[in-house]
């Protein structure tokens, strides 16, 4: 049994009340599964996703050892 590292930034971090956590990879196939597990909500188009620090879609496959991040639209520069 392995784990997936999950990270949250900005408003998503504030809304979920956590910055990062490790979750059990059991039953996780894709990003949407991770999001349902950590937020208890359906996938939202307002939440952006990165898998292993690259932008990804909600249907991107995820497994043990991966790093998944959820965050709002960016506002740098």
């Amino acid at each position: 049994m392995g784990t997936i590292s999950v990270r949250y930034f900005a408003r998503v971090r504030e809304q979920l009340g956590k910055g990062q956590e490790l979750i059990d990879s059991e039953g996780i196939r894709c990003v949407a599964d991770v999001w349902r597990r950590v937020s208890g909500a359906a996938p939202s188009t307002k939440v952006l996703v990165a898998v292993n620090q690259e932008y990804a879609a909600m249907d991107h496959p995820v497994g043990t050892g991966d790093e998944v991040a959820f965050f709002p639209p960016v506002t740098g520069g």
Binding site: A10, T75, G76, G77
Partner: protein, 141 residues
């Protein structure tokens, strides 16, 4: 060259230092295009007292290196300089610097604009302002 850092920087000094560290560039470029983004003391109807830039350490640098490589593959330019702050900033402080050196001005302008536009729409930074109306996340453009 890409740098993401919490401490303030002087963009004009950074450019000077970089040019001095590249004597082999001397006489090889005819055009330099630079963009500096800095913190205004007024935004979207409110006085801004300070700003905190949150970022995704690691992904930020990867993304900026990628944008830099894309620009170098699309235009005939030297290695661009990209510096971006994170953490707490006060008004008037530089947030981001993009500097591009090229033989010709068209490539320099286009690559500089490309890099800052890509950075603004894709690099994982988030601005939170302290204003006279309280704390707020800055809305995307």
């Amino acid at each position: 060259m890409v740098r993401v850092q919490p401490h303030p920087f002087d963009p004009w000094m950074e450019i000077s230092v970089l040019e001095h560290h590249h004597p082999e560039w001397s006489g090889k470029f005819g055009a330099t295009a630079v963009f500096v983004g800095s913190l205004r003391d007024f935004n979207q109807g409110h006085q801004v007292a300070e700003m905190t830039l949150e970022h995704y350490a690691g992904m930020t640098e990867r993304h900026l290196e990628k944008v830099s490589c894309e620009a170098m593959s699309r235009w005939n330019i030297l290695d661009p300089l990209i510096i971006h702050r994170y953490g707490r900033l006060t008004p008037a402080e530089p947030i981001v610097l993009v500097a591009v050196w090229s033989a010709h001005r068209d490539a320099a302008f286009l690559a500089c604009r490309y890099i800052i536009d890509e950075l603004k729409t894709r690099a994982p930074f988030w601005k939170r302002e302290e204003t006279d109306a309280g704390r707020r996340w800055v809305a995307p453009e």
